[in-house]
């Protein structure tokens, strides 16, 4: 029964993935393609946050630092070296190493303590990265930022779309496999009852540090993709607003679901795009953030576990009633 359910859902996800690869042949407008690329990028970023919040119950207020590390590593390397595919590979590697090391150190220092220590330290470190990027003008260009060149292949929006879509799909299936594995089940157990998990014989700190490193590395990769689409970097990639955005994406979509944060990212990116575009229609839309807030409140009221979480919950209850 369970196996069949997993297979069914995998087929559904594969079908959606196939559709994602077909979209650029149907939608050729650059702005809409750019919007979808942003959704893919923030979908990856939100999935990385979901690993922490949704699966392990770790709250981070500075997740954006990993995103920023990915963005700056890529921008600086393309700026300093010949913009080639090799440099791109190097950027992914360097950002993954920096994000991995930072998340490992932060994890080791704080994850043995109560969760708010991790939240506070990540918030402080993200602030430190932001100030560092502003002050280290020689490398980062400070708050003015800088533009950089890309290899010819990555200049094409179609290629960038396909790269982002492929990254989203591969990371989604990879992380899904991880969360469905025994390792993932231990993460959920930690989220629900840490001391109980430990008294079952699991060294909880190891699991939390591993998930923190995986999450940091995935977030840094989303930063790499983000900056490819902009070809410009400034200190806004370290802004706390991005952490708040990704938190909202995860909560609206449904924590602990992986697909939920992607849906949350889609809704928020579309809301950003469409609601602000509607300012010509009515003055109210100039204050689109009010509507955005209203939508958020409605979703929290009617979908307390997020869209996917609440729907999945209802489905499980319905199925349980049928089997009784």
């Amino acid at each position: 029964m369970n196996l069949r359910t997993i297979e069914k859902s995998t087929w559904v996800y594969l079908a959606i993935a196939f559709l994602l690869f077909v979209v650029p042949f149907l939608v050729t407008g650059r702005s809409i393609q750019f919007l979808i690329i942003q959704i893919f990028v923030f979908g990856i970023f939100a999935m990385s946050y979901d690993l922490l919040l949704g699966y392990t119950g770790i709250i981070s207020f500075g997740h954006v630092m990993f995103f920023g590390v990915g963005a700056y590593s890529t921008a600086v390397l393309f700026d300093r070296f010949e913009p080639t595919i090799f440099t791109f590979g190097l950027a992914i590697l360097v950002s993954a190493i920096i994000a991995g090391v930072v998340s490992f150190i932060v994890g080791i220092l704080t994850l043995r303590l109560k969760s708010h220590f991790y939240a506070m330290l990540t918030l402080a470190l993200a602030g430190l990265f932001l100030v560092g990027a502003e002050k280290w003008r020689k490398v980062t260009g400070g708050s003015d930022g800088f533009t950089f060149g890309l290899p010819d292949m990555l200049r094409d929006s179609f290629t960038l779309y396909m790269l982002s879509a492929l990254s989203l799909v591969l990371l989604f299936f990879g992380l899904r496999r991880m969360t469905k594995s025994p390792f993932g089940k231990v993460l959920v157990a930690i989220r629900e009852n840490e001391s109980r998990t430990e008294s079952l014989g699991y060294q909880v700190l190891h699991y939390k540090v591993i998930v923190s490193v995986v999450s940091g590395v995935v977030a840094s990769y989303s930063g790499v993709l983000y900056i490819l689409s902009l070809r410009f970097v400034d200190t806004s990639v370290f802004a706390t607003d991005l952490t708040i955005d990704v938190l909202l994406m995860t909560i609206i979509g449904g924590v602990g679901t992986l697909i939920g944060p992607i849906i949350g990212a889609s809704l928020i990116e579309f809301a950003h795009h469409w609601l602000s575009d509607l300012s010509d229609v009515h003055w109210l839309f100039e204050r689109w953030i009010i509507l955005y807030g209203t939508i958020f409140i409605l979703i929290v009221v009617f979908f307390p576990k997020g869209i996917v979480g609440t729907l999945a919950d209802r489905y499980i209850r319905w199925r349980a009633r049928r089997t009784e």
Binding site: N2, K185, N193, S199, Q203
Partner: protein, 235 residues
């Protein structure tokens, strides 16, 4: 029989409060040792301290002759001690099957055989295998909690108030399962229901105000009306 678990003058805290003053008892291998006492006497704290969940600040704590006093909960669990907490500690978002598999750290012939045995004992768990733990009834949760501790080849089980809040018919079922487990493992049982505990236990220790005040064979306690009245309020 050799002493499997031994506590000598153990002292333990909950945060800054000194809760256990002097706990001393010995658990022989293959027996069921019952900890008795009024509410708040320190029985649950004793089990939590053995598991490393509360800091032990004095005395000694040995398992199979080796000190486990300064070990972390996962190290103690990996030495072969299973714990069924008072609140059952079910993972609500995991299904019954996932709860069992998280508890079963290694999957081999022995643990699979144990799983089969426990599912035969509690057919409800097999029936609701794919149901989230949070949707089980109180009795089913207790069955799952006991099963999780038993499915690993633990040599010692610490079971805290398994009958708490359950209907009499479910209590009977749970106690019957503990009775069967007794054949295969050593058990320390905390139980308020003296009638149930006396049917299972081989020996007893009474804890009062954070210290062990009486001990002996369970058969002797059943006959000792004065002791039952004094410490357990049973006349």
């Amino acid at each position: 029989m050799s002493d499997f678990l031994e506590l000598r003058h153990m002292k333990a805290n909950i945060e800054q409060y000194h809760i256990l003053h002097d706990i001393t008892f010995r658990v022989p291998k293959g027996e069921v040792t019952v900890l008795l006492g009024r509410n708040g006497a320190g029985k649950t704290t004793t089990l939590r301290s053995i598991m490393g969940l509360n800091p032990v600040v004095g005395g000694s704590l040995t398992f199979k002759g080796e000190s486990i006093r300064n070990l972390k909960p996962h190290q103690i669990a990996n030495k072969g001690i299973g714990y069924v907490p008072e609140d059952q500690g079910i993972f609500y978002d995991l299904t019954v099957g996932e709860n069992m598999r998280v508890a079963m750290k290694k999957e081999n012939g022995e643990t699979k055989a144990r799983m089969e045995w426990i599912l035969d004992l509690f057919p409800d768990l097999k029936k609701f295998w794919n149901k989230p733990g949070g949707q089980l009834s109180g009795g089913q949760k207790q069955m799952l909690a006991i099963s999780r501790a038993y499915v690993n080849d633990n040599e010692l089980l610490l079971i805290d108030e398994p009958s708490k809040g359950l209907a009499p018919i479910v209590v009977e079922k749970v106690m019957e399962s503990i009775h069967q487990m007794k054949e295969q493992t050593t058990i320390v049982l905390v139980e308020q229901n003296f009638m149930m505990a006396s049917g299972i236990g081989d020996r007893f220790y009474i804890i009062d105000d954070g210290q062990t005040v009486q001990s002996g064979q369970m058969n002797e306690l059943k006959q000792d009306g004065v002791l039952l009245q004094k410490y357990l309020g049973i006349s």
